[in-house]
Symmetry: C2
């Protein structure tokens, strides 16, 4: 299985602290060494950094560790291959454009024997480039959303649609995922996903994967709100809330929405 | 105007030498300082590195200079903004998926007052995320290709289609571009575009933008073929062929195709 990391904020925030611990899980403190990726929404665009080297020794991870990119929505993924070989085409997060918005998706789990009705074949608007079940599920969700809405609906309507599509896929295996269009971040839990909501008064946090501490009070303003979502808690002195099986949460502006 | 760089090869090749000269044009040896990007097709996937900092002092450019990524198709772009603010959403190369293939596009020029018929509005399959004429032109071309073909046609058929779509757009301004689906690289010239074809016997090349020399005989095999395309020649001791106004060339396997 893979490792997921998401961040949703009400003000552009860098993820250097969380990534410092997270990237070690790709070959150092954990075995997930089949490539990794991180995607940042910034302003009205986004950029994705990918590498098929383990994140613990990737030059691209080294850049991300040292380049404090400020973003309101981040999705990162460390891969332990279940379906599809180790290659760039199979590296999460996956990205597509729908309604003039960038969409990003990363998956931890395994969808087995998806029925033919989930195929994205010739003629489908969104088709996978690689060979993973994850990218197939993402494309299938976007195809259905594109059929239902010719333009971006409001968040409540979108959430209802994503929830219904998620339920259809989740019956076919393990389907922990993070999905974002740059404003909201959707998180679905099949087995393992935790979140923490940070807001004033800010405290000191200590990483679980490295002996690194940060005092958030020094790097925030009183209005900042940050939600962090991860497969396993990233810090060992904060209260992380476990998500339950089948739960879909939506984060917007650093808080739970809806 | 912007600076374009493309590379098409018959074997995965790193672009470190060419990029060493090219990246200096973003703020050092030239004025194009409104962001930059480079995209590499690798194996069956691709990855795009973007930054809105000038390439001459971008941490992402520093990574690309020092990480010899081997690729058969590369497109890079340094931006001098004409339409659209300096932001990630307006940074080339642009990327979309069509027929299960990644497509990349970068543009040097300015398309002014594109008629309504070129708009990619609500309901269009491909829509721009940013505000540039360049991304609009790319989306319009992909919308037309998607209408014409439900799956990827052969290269000759694709070239005919791209040529016709290019002619429609080129009447509306300056339209130097590089376009690739990972197998072929299309290059269109309105004003400035040069190419060089490298094959055995390989010689020594010297950059025009820096006092750097490489002996290609030391880093190639006799079967290697590499095509490099750029807004201005990157080396000062090789024979670069200027493209002519309205010319569309297709490079495949490091040579001219068709």
């Amino acid at each position: 299985m893979c490792q997921l990391l998401g961040m949703n904020c009400n003000t552009p925030t860098d993820i250097v602290f969380s990534f410092e611990g997270f990237h070690r899980r790709g070959g150092l403190t954990d075995e997930h060494a089949d490539g990794w990726g991180i995607a940042f929404f910034e302003d009205d665009g986004c950029r994705v950094f990918l590498d098929y080297l383990p994140s613990a020794r990737s030059p691209v991870a080294e850049l991300v560790r040292n380049y404090p990119i400020k973003s309101r929505n981040v999705i990162a993924h460390i891969r332990k291959a279940t379906q599809g070989k180790v290659s760039l085409a199979n590296t999460h997060p996956f990205r597509r454009e729908l309604w003039g918005q960038d969409w990003l998706f990363a998956h931890n789990g395994n969808l087995v024997d998806l029925p033919e009705s989930f195929a994205c074949t010739h003629g489908s608007r969104f088709q996978r480039v690689g060979t993973t079940d994850s990218e197939q599920a993402f494309c299938w969700m976007l195809n259905r959303l594109a059929e239902q809405f010719t333009r971006a609906p409001d968040l409540a309507t979108l959430t209802t649609a994503v929830r219904a599509l998620t339920a259809e896929l989740a019956g076919h295996g393990t389907f922990n995922f993070l999905l974002s269009n740059g404003t909201a971040l959707f998180a679905h839990c099949s087995t393992h996903l935790y979140y923490v909501l940070r807001r004033a008064p800010f405290n000191t946090a200590h990483l679980a994967d490295a002996d690194v501490t940060v005092d958030f009070a020094q790097v925030t303003t009183p209005d900042d709100r940050v939600a962090v979502i991860a497969t396993q808690p990233l810090t060992d002195n904060e209260q992380w809330t476990p998500m339950t099986t089948g739960q879909l949460l939506v984060f917007a502006d650093g808080a739970l929405a809806g």
